[in-house]
Subunit: 420 residues, 2 copies
C-alpha cells in the first residue's frame, strides 16, 4: 500500500470506531440540547467557549418577561439577592464537591482571583512569598505579579515541562516558612495536565501557607472534591464547560472555616452585613457573602443554569467518563493520522493525568489553524505551535472529533515538505 | 367643601393636567417599546432597575443563535473583543459628552470604582487625603474607606443637608495640598441634588487633585458634558436609566490625557497590551483598554444596547426635558395631595438642581411602601423615612406618576392620626 492508501484505510477504521463509540455513548442524546451550527463541522473549542443550550435562549426570554419585566425591582428581594450563593451552592454540589455556603458567583475570573489572592495574603502577614507557575494562564500570573509588586512580596515561579505540569515534589521544594500563598491551575490550559490537588494542598498547609486553585479548565469536565481535599480557596470560570456564555461571571470558593478570618479588598455594598441599612461603616457580611462586591450580574448568570440542570441530571462522573473516552480517542486519531506528519502529542497519555482537552504540537499549526477555521473546524491555537483540541463531553461526538482531526491531517498532507 | 371634597377636586384637576401633559409629550409613543407589567399600576423605581425593552428579548435570542451559537469562539475576534470600548464609546457619545476612546464597559460599579480610585491614588502619591461625601451611596463610601485603610490615607467626609447635597464652596473648603482624590456623586441617590460638576472639577484641579464622579443616577437621565468639564474619571451603572437589566456591567471613563499615566490594580489578561501573546510580564495596553481586567461580560452587555439605540434616536436633551417635566409634576402632586398629610419634599424645587427622581419624607413611609407594593405601586424606600419616586422619562407617563402618588395619599388618608 502507498502511504495515502494506508491513511485512507486508517481513516475508515477510525470512522467505524467513532460510530461504535457514539452508538454506545449514554450521553449522546444530550447533544440535541445544544444549539447546532450548520457551517461548523467540528467545534473543538468548547473549553474556551461552550456552546449555548437551547434552554438558555428560553431562560433569557423568561427573565425579560418574568422576573425582570413582571416583578421588576421586587425580584431582588424575591430571588436575585440570593442568586450569587444559590447558584454558587449549585455549582459546588454539581461540580466542585463543595458543601453549601462556600461558593459565590460574581465578577470576572481575574477580579475574583485578585480578591481571593489579596484576602489570603492579608491572612498570612509576615510571610513574603507567593508560589505560582510560570506556565499558567496569563491572568493568574499577572494578578500575582500585580499583588506582589503592590505589597512588596516576591514570587517563586515554578517552571514546568510544557507537555506536563507542576508536580507535588516540585511544589514541596518551593515551600517554606516564607510561603504565604500558592496559586496554581488545577488543569493546565496548555497541556491539560491534572495537578495533584489533594497532595499539593496538604503540603502547602504543612508549610503554613494557603492555596488558591484555578479551576477554569476543570469545572464541569471532571469530578472535583474541594472539601475532601481541604482546599482553602478556588476560582473558576463558567463559560467553558458550564456553557454560561461569553464573559459569564466567575465563581469563587472559600472554605467555611476560613471565611470569617479573611477580608477581601473591594468593599462594596453587596458584601456588607446589611446592604440596605445604608450604614456608615462597612461591616462585612458573615460567611461567603463577604466576598461579593457590587450588584450581582443576574443577566449573565442565566444561561449557565441550563447546563447545571443537565450536569446534575447526568452526573459529573458520566461526564468525566466520556471526557476520558473522547480525549483517548483523539490520541488514537493523532497516532494514526497525525504523528506521520510529525505532529507530537503535548498532553499526558495517562488519562488520570489528563483533563478535558489535548494539545498537539507542529511548527505549522499557526497557519493550519487559520485554514481549519475556513473549513469549519474550530480548535484553538496556543503559541508557540500548539493546536488545542477541546472536547466538551456533552456537546461533542466521537465522529465530530474525528472529522476535525482528519481535516488537520488533510491540510498537513497538502503542505509542501519543509525545506531541509 | 370638606377636606375630602377638596382633595377629590384636586385629584380631578391633576388627572386633567396629566392627560394634557401626556397628550403633548413627544416621547409618549416610545412607552410601547418597553415590556409592560399588568399587575403594576405605577412603576416608580426605574432609577433603581429600568424596565426591559422588548428589543432586549430579541437581542438576547439573537445572541444565542447568532454570535454565540453560530460564530462560537470566532465571535471574539469578530466583535466581542472590541465590545467594552465600542459600547463605552456609544455611552460616551449618547449620554456622557465624551469623545471616543475614554469609556469602557465591564465589572460591577463597585469594582470599577475601586479600580479607578486606586489608579488615581497611585498617580497622586505623597498626597494623603481623599475627600468624599458622608451622604453618598454606601458602595462609594465603603470603597473609599477600604482604600484609605489599605494605603494609610485619611478621608475628609463632607456632611450635607440630606435634602440638598454637596456645594462648590463646601468642596473648596475641604481641598488643599494633601488632597489626592475627590470622589462624589454627581446626582445624590437620596435627594436627587445635582452637584456642580464643572465648578467642582475645576476647583479640585486647582488644588492639584483628581476627581472621580459617580454618575449612577445621572447617566441616561440628563445631559452630561464630561469632556467639556475636564473631568478626570467617572463611573456609572447601566441598569437604571440605561435599562441594561439586573446587574448589567458598569462603565468607567478616564480622560484621554490621563490614561497612560494611570495603572489600575487588577492586572488581568484583557487589559494587557496583547492578550493573546500569553507573554511573561504584564504590559498594560495603551489607552482605555488598560482599565479592563477579565473577560468582558458580553451577555450582560446585550440589553442596554436597545436603550442606547432609543436614546440616540430621541436625543438626551428631549429625555432631560421630559424628566424635568415629570419631576416638576410630581412636586405639583405632592403640594396638592401629600403636603396636607405632613409629607415633605426632600428634593430641590429648582429643576436645574434636581435629577430624575424626587424623594418625599414622612415618618410612616416605611410601612406605607410595603402597602404600596401590595397595590402595584412600586417606589423605593430609603431610610430613615424617604419614599423615593423615580420617573424614568422614556417609560413613565404623567398619568402613571399621578396614579402612584394618589395611592400614597389614599394610604395616608386611611391611617389613624399620629398620637399627640
Amino acid at each position: 500500500m502507498t502511504d495515502q492508501h494506508a491513511a485512507q484505510a486508517d481513516l475508515a477504521d477510525l470512522a467505524d470506531r467513532a460510530a461504535e463509540l457514539d452508538a454506545a455513548d449514554p450521553l449522546a442524546p444530550h447533544r440535541d440540547a445544544f444549539v447546532s451550527t450548520p457551517g461548523v463541522t467540528a467545534y473543538l473549542d468548547g473549553n474556551s467557549l461552550g456552546r449555548p443550550l437551547h434552554a438558555a435562549r428560553t431562560a433569557l426570554a423568561e427573565l425579560v418577561d418574568g422576573a425582570w419585566g413582571d416583578r421588576l425591582i421586587r425580584a431582588w428581594d424575591e430571588q436575585w439577592m440570593d442568586a450569587p450563593t444559590e447558584l454558587g451552592d449549585r455549582i459546588g454540589r454539581v461540580a466542585l464537591g463543595a458543601a453549601a455556603g462556600q461558593t459565590v458567583v460574581g465578577d470576572s475570573t481575574s477580579v475574583m482571583l485578585y480578591k481571593l489572592a489579596r484576602a489570603a495574603l492579608g491572612a498570612r502577614q509576615g510571610r513574603d512569598e507567593i508560589v505560582a507557575c510560570a506556565d499558567d494562564f496569563p491572568t493568574d500570573r499577572f494578578v500575582v505579579q500585580g499583588l506582589a509588586d503592590e505589597l512588596g512580596l516576591s514570587v517563586r515561579w515554578l517552571t514546568v515541562d510544557p507537555r506536563a505540569g507542576v508536580t507535588l515534589d516540585q511544589v514541596r521544594g518551593a515551600l517554606g516558612p516564607r510561603t504565604a500563598l500558592v496559586l496554581l491551575s488545577h488543569i493546565s490550559y496548555r497541556s491539560a495536565w491534572v495537578a495533584d490537588m489533594a497532595g499539593i494542598t496538604a503540603a502547602v498547609h504543612q508549610a503554613g501557607g494557603l492555596v488558591l486553585w484555578d479551576l477554569c479548565h476543570s469545572v464541569g469536565a471532571l469530578d472535583l472534591a474541594l472539601d475532601e481535599a481541604e482546599v482553602d480557596l478556588a476560582v473558576g470560570c463558567t463559560y467553558k464547560y458550564l456553557n454560561g456564555g461569553p464573559g459569564s461571571p466567575a465563581f469563587g470558593y472559600v472554605a467555611a472555616g476560613l471565611q470569617d478570618r479573611l477580608r477581601q479588598p473591594i468593599q462594596g455594598w453587596m458584601g456588607a452585613a446589611d446592604p440596605f441599612a445604608m450604614g456608615e461603616r462597612y461591616q462585612p457580611a458573615n460567611g461567603i457573602r463577604r466576598f461579593i462586591s457590587g450588584t450581582p450580574p443576574i443577566v449573565g448568570m442565566v444561561p449557565m443554569r441550563a447546563m447545571l440542570d443537565l450536569l446534575e441530571s447526568v452526573g459529573i462522573a458520566a461526564v468525566r467518563a466520556k471526557s476520558v473516552a473522547l480525549t483517548g480517542f483523539a490520541i488514537e486519531v493523532h497516532d494514526a493520522l497525525l504523528a506521520p506528519y510529525g505532529v507530537e502529542l503535548a498532553s499526558p497519555r495517562d488519562p488520570a493525568l489528563r483533563g478535558g482537552h489535548v494539545i498537539l504540537d507542529h511548527p505549522d499549526f499557526r497557519e493550519v489553524t487559520a485554514r481549519l477555521w475556513e473549513r469549519g473546524v474550530i480548535p484553538d491555537f496556543r503559541p508557540p505551535h500548539g493546536l488545542r483540541v477541546g472536547l466538551s463531553p456533552l456537546s461533542t461526538s466521537f465522529a465530530e472529533a474525528l472529522q476535525g482531526l482528519a481535516t488537520v491531517a488533510d491540510l498537513l498532507s497538502e503542505r509542501p515538505p519543509v525545506a531541509p
